[in-house]
């Protein structure tokens, strides 16, 4: 009776399999990290957009005549905190958003251009600034 040599995996299979699996797992790990980074960036950009809109609405609600007073305020800081649960406990990250309001008058001061900026630290791009702008008529 001959031994069953053919049963199990050949060395070639193990080597090829290992290489392919390794490449796939490396790719997945890179993808996972990219996913995490993009997720965080997206979340920060969404939050920045939300803060921008809130600040712009505050300016518009106060009206034309109050815009200089709003612009004269110190830049406002909004800090967001996110906590992730892991098997080894929790992981908390914070992002600081700094908002500022600017304006300028047209010639006869019947209209103001208002723009709001928000600046925050982005892991890939460094300091990042988003901006919203609109015009406000005197009687609004």
């Amino acid at each position: 009776m001959k031994p069953t040599r053919a049963l199990g995996f050949s060395l070639l299979e193990v080597i090829l399999g290992g290489l392919i699996m390794g490449a796939a797992l490396t790719g997945m790990a890179t993808l996972w990290m990219t996913h995490q980074r993009v997720l965080r960036e997206s979340r920060d950009r969404l939050m920045a957009t939300f803060i921008l809109q809130s600040e712009m609405e505050r300016c518009l609600a106060q009206g034309f005549h109050s815009i200089p007073a709003v612009a004269a305020e110190d830049p406002q800081e909004v800090v967001t905190e996110r906590t992730f649960g892991t098997t080894r406990g929790t992981n908390t990250t914070t992002t600081s958003f700094l908002t500022d309001v600017f304006f300028e008058n047209n010639g006869d001061e019947t209209m103001r251009r208002v723009w709001v900026t928000v600046t925050y630290e982005d892991s890939r791009h460094g300091l990042r600034t988003l901006e919203l702008e609109t015009f406000v008529f005197k009687n609004e």
Partner: protein, 424 residues
Amino acid sequence: MRMKRRSTTRNRGIGLALLLALTAVILVLGASAVALIAQLSQQVSSSQRASKVKYAAKAGLSRALLELSKDPHWSPTTLVLPDASPDSFDFRDNSLGCKVQVVNNWGGAAPVSAPDSTMVEPGRVWLESVGTLHGEPLSGAHGIAAGLAVKPEVVFDLAVYQRDGIFTIQSPSVLIASYRSSGAATDPKDPAGVLESEAVIRSEVGVIINAASQLRGKVQLPRVDIPVAGNLAGLVEVVPDGPLPLQFTEPEALRSLPHPSQYGTALDLDPGPYFEVKVEPGGSLVLRGGTYYIDSLWVGEGSVVELVDVTDSNPCVVYLGEIFDVGPDAEINWQRAPALLQLYSTDRDNWGADQFILGNNSRSSFVIASDVLELALGEGAVLYGAVDARLVTWAAGARLIFDENLIGQVLDGDPEWVLVSETD
């Protein structure tokens, strides 16, 4: 015993095949993850762009208001920004822009239809602004608004225009007549004034005048079938369209300032906003040419309200928020032309009515208007000028003497433009 060698041979390479299949699954999952990430990133960018374009659209509405403030009849086919206008701005982000459509019914007499089937009432302007990015309109980022003059042009061609209910004078000895103001610094009235018969009263639903009262003029009605009762034979004329609606709001320039209260027997107030102004009985109040907002104004018994530094081109305009109460025997702008004192009620609390009172035997000279005004003339009260109100009530002996100089005269032609409704 024979071994099944053939079957063993067939198992060779099965591990690799399984691994490849597993890897393929992993790659499909990976590709899905990449697609998800790209989609998420795209959604965030799109949300950011939508936000920018939304405020660009709002900027277009503001710009339209600016144009309307310069010319109430402004009605371009389309306003496209940026347009490098010296009076306005261009966007800091040069990829942004907006297109504004205008349906201007400022001077119209009947409602007109806007492109979205909204009916635009006379005196209003329909605006639609669509924000653009690189010249392309973005859906879901537009504003629709109506413009309204908070200080519409006012013309007092009628002695009394009662906008609501039946015009009723049940009390005896009420007189409605006319005169022509002198145009001089002083405007002598009783007994020097000669009363004429050019006073026109108008009601949309009917007129009842007690036989013991007198109208020296005409009754104007929108249709011939409107009921008229009293000694009015031969005095009726039919004019289908009445004056435009008159709604007033405290001017924005005053709204943002402090509103102090003033109480006393001798008050001298500069133009501006006030909360409560109360003149004690026998006291005096001096008002000047310019614009006032007074939430509540009480003029005590026997008090005098005088105007200084007023001219035809710089009258005293008072927006009244809630209360205007003139005590018995008080005098308001007496011996001066009525057009120099213009009173407009604003219904600050949106109650739908402002009830103003001219006390017994008071003597006044002014014009007064508002869709929400309910004016009561006390016994023997005399008012020179004109009244455009929701409702007017008359006590015995009250007199309204219309100033014929008001006919065709446009008062207060400096409208403010605001958005009365806005949707994104």
